[in-house]
């Protein structure tokens, strides 16, 4: 049986010079459990993420991978165990939650841009109201990141006037404007046409090249192989296998992982 090639849909060389994993712990999850009603959606999750790591979380739908990363900025509440983000433990204390949320950027599957605000206003809103940045400075920061995601010319338009790929890049820029130390991606390319997937992945790769700590829930195995330093496979609310990408794709240990990989890559 020959292994199908896993290809990165983006044609570019990846510059790994800045991609360094430090010893400093960014996120520590220990013995975390979560239930939706009586449904045990996350079971005994233990993950340590060091600063500079690029982690891809994959698994079948309903495996709890989105819920997992949504717990990291408390969009979902966990019922037992411990989550420490950047030295702050997530409890019901609102102050801690707001602190973590302003340090952790999040990109959603459906972009969730604010349709009543222009692109620029989308990007400056949180810096102005949460970080208390002066408007002028916030606009400069926003333009800087909009240039980085290659759409500065759209700054005065509204989200409804942009294509899906452009909207997702705005969403990334909006998160970056808060100067986050960690970025979470919740299936950022799943709602996009193939052509637009490229431009979003390109932006994410650029981010990884700068050494951003990233956790991505995605089915883009090419991206995982090229950029990630670790792949986590989840099923039925638990971590089934994790490994560095080459080993993970070429030599999956668990039967469940093998089945998943053959389904996702086997045609």
């Amino acid at each position: 049986m020959t292994k199908p090639a896993i290809e990165l849909p983006v044609e570019r060389e990846i510059n790994t010079s800045q991609m360094k994993v430090s010893d400093e712990v960014a996120i520590q999850i220990t013995g975390m459990n979560k239930w939706f009603g009586t449904f045990h959606v996350l079971r005994d999750i233990d993950i340590t993420v060091n600063r500079g790591e690029r982690i891809v979380v994959c698994g079948p739908s309903g495996s709890g991978k989105s819920t997992l990363i949504r717990c990291i900025n408390r969009l979902e509440e966990h019922q037992s165990g411990q989550i420490i983000v950047d030295g702050t433990e997530l409890t019901s204390d609102l102050k801690n939650i707001d602190k973590v949320r302003s340090e952790v950027g999040m990109v959603f599957q459906h972009f969730n841009l604010f349709p009543h605000l222009s692109i620029l206003e989308n990007c400056t809103l949180a810096p102005i109201w949460v970080r208390k940045t002066p408007r002028k400075e916030a606009e400069e920061i926003a333009m800087h990141f909009l240039e980085k995601v290659k759409i500065p010319e759209q700054a005065l338009k509204y989200p409804g006037q942009l294509s899906g790929g452009q909207q997702q890049r705005v969403a990334i820029a909006r998160s970056l404007c808060m100067k986050p130390r960690i970025m979470l991606f919740d299936e950022p390319t799943s709602a996009l046409d193939p052509e637009m997937i490229k431009e979003v992945l390109d932006t994410m790769i650029a981010l990884a090249e700068e050494g951003m700590t990233m956790i991505c829930v995605t089915h883009e195995m090419g991206f995982a192989q090229a950029v990630a330093n670790r792949v986590i496979f989840m099923d039925q609310g638990q971590i089934v296998e994790q490994n560095e990408p080459r080993e993970f794709f070429n030599n999956p240990k668990s039967e469940r992982t093998q089945l998943f990989l053959s389904q996702i890559l086997g045609h």
């Binding site: 969009l75 972009f111 969730n112 349709p115 009543h116 949180a126 949460v130 409804g160």
Partner: protein
């Protein structure tokens, strides 16, 4: 193949076709008529039938309207002038318009409600049109106190004292906020209450004895006509929107106590006819209040009408909140915005925009419902039309009075409706 009779596939145009005008039947008024009025035999019949109805109505009402008597002292004088012909007697409006507008407000003080009305337009303009200078909003904030003083009069220091209560609340909030956020909210509520209960009275009497300023006091029972409709309507509209927003948020809250209070309030108010609440305001409230307190009837009615509209408003806004995708809340949370900032910057601007038609519905309904106060003895335009008919001079006149009252209400309600359409167009940014 050598079959020469088959059309050749190759084609080259050697001359471009110039632009031409469409055929006569496909342009301008003829096209419009054909498409909209005579597109089929059924439509043609309906069009002709409608024309007949319009013609018949105009033929019936037109002469009556055109043959109007504007100057007469009584209905009898009108009929003498008409001499048996069919005609309207708008002389009643000419004779009594000041009563329909101001009720029994003293004639020499008519300038006060007129000035109040003009200032209302000035105060509303910066609220309604964001293009106007924002500094003008300070006048809008001061307007309720100015309007109160102009309409009712009395000591100038009474509304000033009331306004100072809000200032006290703000100062207390700013001072205590440095210590604790929650305590600051309590301070912001308690400080004005304390001021109004213990300080505002002495402040009024001391200032009045030092510097007696103020307009002549006009009792509430002199108010009437459109003055009363506008006072109740405008106050009710401007108070019911913020109250409705708070109730809608309370109903969505996770705090069980707060949520149940809001749900019970909304369901109770919606379950009771407005007229019942008005009777409660006019009759029952006096039994519950401590003896000797006189609580102005117009004020009581305003409170009831506001609560009534706020309950409906809350449900309309809840509909807008429910229509927002969950992702908007999540994106606001993920950016680190706290509850109030997220509500103010992300959720409410969108929810209110979605709710505009429902909100305007409630506003217009409230404004028209002000005519119900006739049942508790306030002389709104309808009440005055009865009073005018009670005069032997005008006994028996109906249509002319109601047409005038209806036209005035229509002007206001149509204005509100047009403004809401303008607002919807202006806020349309989603490009769906």
């Amino acid at each position: 193949m050598s079959d020469t009779s088959a059309p050749s596939v190759a084609f080259v145009r050697d001359q471009m076709i110039p632009e031409q005008t469409p055929p006569l039947l496909e342009k301008g008024a003829i096209k419009w008529l054909r498409e909209n009025l005579f597109s089929g035999w059924l439509n043609t019949i309906l069009t002709l039938a409608s024309l007949a109805v319009i013609w018949w109505s105009l033929a019936a009402i037109g002469p009556w309207l055109l043959n109007t008597v504007w100057n007469a002292e009584s209905l009898r004088a009108c009929r003498t002038i008409l001499d048996g012909a069919s005609g309207a007697c708008f002389a009643v409006i000419n004779d009594r318009w000041h009563q329909l507008l101001f009720g029994f407000y003293p004639t020499q003080h008519y300038w006060r409600p007129v000035l109040t009305f003009v200032l209302m337009i000035v105060a509303l303009a910066p609220v309604l049109f964001t293009g106007l200078p924002r500094k003008a909003l300070f006048f809008s904030a001061a307007y309720p106190f100015i309007a109160y003083h102009l309409l009712w009069g009395g000591s100038l220091w009474f509304p000033v004292g009331a306004a100072l209560g809000f200032v006290a609340g703000y100062v207390a909030f700013v001072l205590v906020r440095k210590v604790n956020g929650l305590a600051a909210i309590f301070a912001a509520v308690l400080a004005p209450v304390f001021w109004w209960m213990f300080m505002a009275g002495p402040f009024d009497s001391v200032m009045s004895s030092v510097m007696p300023l103020g307009l002549e006091f006009i009792r509430s029972d002199r108010f009437g006509g459109f003055l009363i409709s506008l006072v109740i309507g405008v106050t009710g509209i401007s108070l019911s929107l913020p109250l409705g927003i708070l109730l809608a948020l309370g109903r969505q809250s996770d705090m069980v106590l707060l949520k149940s209070v809001c749900v019970i309030f909304i369901e109770f108010i919606r379950g009771v006819p407005l007229i019942t609440l008005l009777f409660t305001a006019s009759l029952l409230l006096n039994y519950f209040l401590p003896p000797g307190t006189s609580f102005d009837l117009i004020l009581r009615v305003i409170i009831m009408v506001t609560l009534f509209a706020a309950a409906y408003m809350a449900e309309v806004i809840r509909g807008g909140l429910a229509a927002l995708p969950r992702g908007q809340y999540e994106a606001a949370d993920a950016l680190g915005l706290d509850y109030w900032k997220a509500q103010r910057l992300i959720i409410m601007p969108q929810a209110l925009k979605i709710s505009i038609p429902g909100i305007v519905n409630t506003f217009i309904g409230l404004f028209k419902d002000t005519t119900l106060v006739v049942f508790i003895g306030l002389l709104d335009p309808i009440g005055l039309s009865n009073a005018i008919r009670a005069d032997t001079n005008w006994n028996g006149i109906y249509w002319e009075l109601f047409i005038f009252i209806g036209a005035l209400f229509f002007v206001f309600c149509f204005g509100i409706s047009r403004y809401s359409m303008y607002l919807e167009r202006k806020l349309k940014t989603d490009h769906r």
